[in-house]
């Protein structure tokens, strides 16, 4: 069939990006980027002659990091932060997708919920920290809810938007095939919007992780935020920066994990 060749050609075109891949560049280029950032960091320390207590050079932070990873307290702090993040993220994502889908499917619900959601979503999570401390003290609950709150709005707004933009032909096809409104919502609309929802979930992970650490700075008894504030009060600037590096690495890791999970199933 004449049109079969076009199909395979389109398949290969999709894979090819712009520019040629140099062997090993997948590892070397990111390392070069990190080396460049460290070079600027080192240069700043040298040029301004900064004492270790103000800004330790990269190697000093690396030493602090190696000290940290050998302590049990560090791993407990990482565990607490991750636990709070995962719980809040799951809660916020599920609730956000559910409410977003409902807003897209039901005009009645959309009209009712929009004013509340539109005004709440501009109150940044950090504005709630004093209240969560007041209500929940330094327990996990406050932080989990804060993460859920931060994640929820990202997920609600983008789920609603992407479900409403699903190709209307797919809805017609689903109806023609005998699907009820609920089946259409679950099996067609959410599924068709899934790639967009997955990329929102990645953005939401960043927002949620930032919220965890920020909340721990203020009101917590354990977690990476606590580790950093404690290190700062005892003037261990190396540990402060090491903690910050860990936050960055974990955030990047979580984001990469979600991308990997979604890419395998949602590449269309």
């Amino acid at each position: 069939m004449a049109d079969d060749t076009a199909a395979t050609a389109a398949g290969t075109m999709r894979k090819a990006g712009v520019g040629r891949a140099v062997p090993g560049s997948r590892v070397l280029l990111p390392l070069a980027g990190i080396a460049f950032a460290c070079a600027i960091w080192q240069l700043t320390v040298v040029v301004y002659d900064l004492p270790v207590i103000v800004l330790p050079p990269p190697w000093a932070v690396a030493t602090s990091l190696s000290e940290l990873v050998r302590s049990a307290a560090f791993w407990r702090d990482v565990g607490v932060s991750l636990f709070e993040f995962v719980c809040g993220y799951a809660l916020g994502t599920i609730a956000g997708i559910a409410v977003g889908a409902l807003m897209a499917e039901s005009r009645f619900f959309r009209m009712t919920a929009t004013p509340v959601i539109e005004s709440l979503r501009f109150i940044v999570p950090f504005a709630w920290i004093p209240l969560t401390v007041l209500w929940f003290g330094t327990s996990y609950t406050g932080k989990i809810l804060l993460v859920a709150y931060a994640v929820f709005f990202v997920m609600t707004v983008s789920t609603a938007r992407s479900v409403m933009h699903v190709d209307p032909t797919l809805t017609r096809v689903g109806t023609m095939l005998g699907m009820s409104r609920i089946e259409l919502a679950l099996r067609v609309h959410l599924r068709a919007a899934a790639p967009a929802i997955a990329s929102a979930a990645r953005a939401a992970a960043a927002v949620g992780w930032i919220a965890v650490v920020a909340a721990e700075y203020v009101g917590a008894s354990a977690g990476l935020g606590v580790l950093i504030t404690n290190a700062a009060t005892s003037l261990q600037t190396g540990h402060v920066l090491a903690g910050m590096v860990v936050i960055g690495l974990i955030g990047a890791g979580v984001s990469g994990l979600i991308r990997r999970l979604s890419r395998s199933r949602l590449d269309y």
Binding site: A7, T8, D167, V173, M176, E183, A192
Partner: protein, 278 residues
């Protein structure tokens, strides 16, 4: 086509010589259908008091200028949108919004689910209508064979060309073994050779299952080949300009009768030919 279509044995369909029974297609009737689209302050009248019948088991081909509301007619018959005024009746009952278990439809844009394989796209309508997975899969494979896509069962829609996707859309509609088959220019993106082949396949399938068919096309010769009647529509706001019955003898492309029908239909569309046919 040589494959035995599943489902044919148990629920064999009545021929059009035996109308009024519930097997086979039912009667489709448009009664004074008017329709307009409202977009802000702009109102577009597309259909103006359109009335015609498609008797059970017959094939009506709707031809008309672009934008005259042919696709709207199909959407109304399918229960996908309500008419501004008038009634569409299927089997004597007014068509309501929502799923119709008798319906199979192929859309102008095939609208395949991108997350499903070709086979799953054809099978899903069968499973939502209560067939078992294994049965749905077998029927899907048979109809994919019929449209020449048996090598692409496991492909995903983004790996298909436009014409191939349209053929999947046709297979999906036919696999439902519908009593009411609505086809919206299903061969528009198919190359000429495949088109001829699919027209033949469709013709033999229609002969076997006798659904009631409303077929929208731009191609008058296709309408003569497949239709029992041609419904010629006017410019927007469209009315039925003429209903041209097609006899068996008219389908012989070498015959003067074919040339006359072609000229008649083209004339309705405002194209004057000197009866030189195609």
């Amino acid at each position: 086509m040589t494959t035995q279509m599943p489902g044919a044995g148990s629920e064999s369909r009545a021929t059009p010589a035996n109308p009024g029974t519930t097997s086979g297609g039912g009667d489709l009737a448009f009664e004074k259908i008017s329709h307009r689209y409202v977009n802000g302050s702009r109102r577009t009248e597309v259909l103006n008091e359109v009335s015609f019948n498609v008797p059970a088991g017959s094939v009506a081909c709707v031809v008309g200028p672009s934008g005259c509301g042919k696709s709207t007619l199909l959407a109304l018959a399918a229960g996908l949108q309500p008419a501004s005024s008038g009634v569409v009746r299927w089997d004597g009952k007014p068509v309501r919004l929502g799923p119709n278990p008798d319906l199979g439809m192929a859309f102008q844009q095939p609208g395949l689910f991108p997350w499903m394989t070709v086979r799953q796209n054809v099978a899903i309508g069968l499973t939502t209508r209560g067939r078992s997975r294994a049965e749905a899969r077998r029927i899907a494979d048979d109809f994919l064979l019929a449209v020449g896509l048996h090598d692409f069962q496991d492909a995903y829609p983004n790996q298909l060309s436009g014409g191939m996707a349209q053929r999947v859309g046709i297979a999906r509609a036919l696999a439902l073994n519908p009593r009411l088959l609505l086809l919206d220019e299903p061969f528009a993106a198919v190359d000429a050779f495949t088109r001829l082949k699919l027209q033949q396949e469709l013709k033999s399938l229609l002969k076997r299952y006798r659904p009631t068919v409303l077929f929208v096309t731009h191609d008058v010769s296709e309408a003569i080949l497949l239709g029992d009647v041609i419904v010629a529509m006017s410019q927007r706001p469209a009315t039925v300009q003429r209903i041209i019955p097609i006899e068996h003898a008219d389908r012989n492309r070498a015959s003067p009768a074919y040339a006359r029908k072609l000229a008649e239909a083209l004339e309705c569309l405002g194209i004057r030919s000197d009866a030189d046919g195609a």
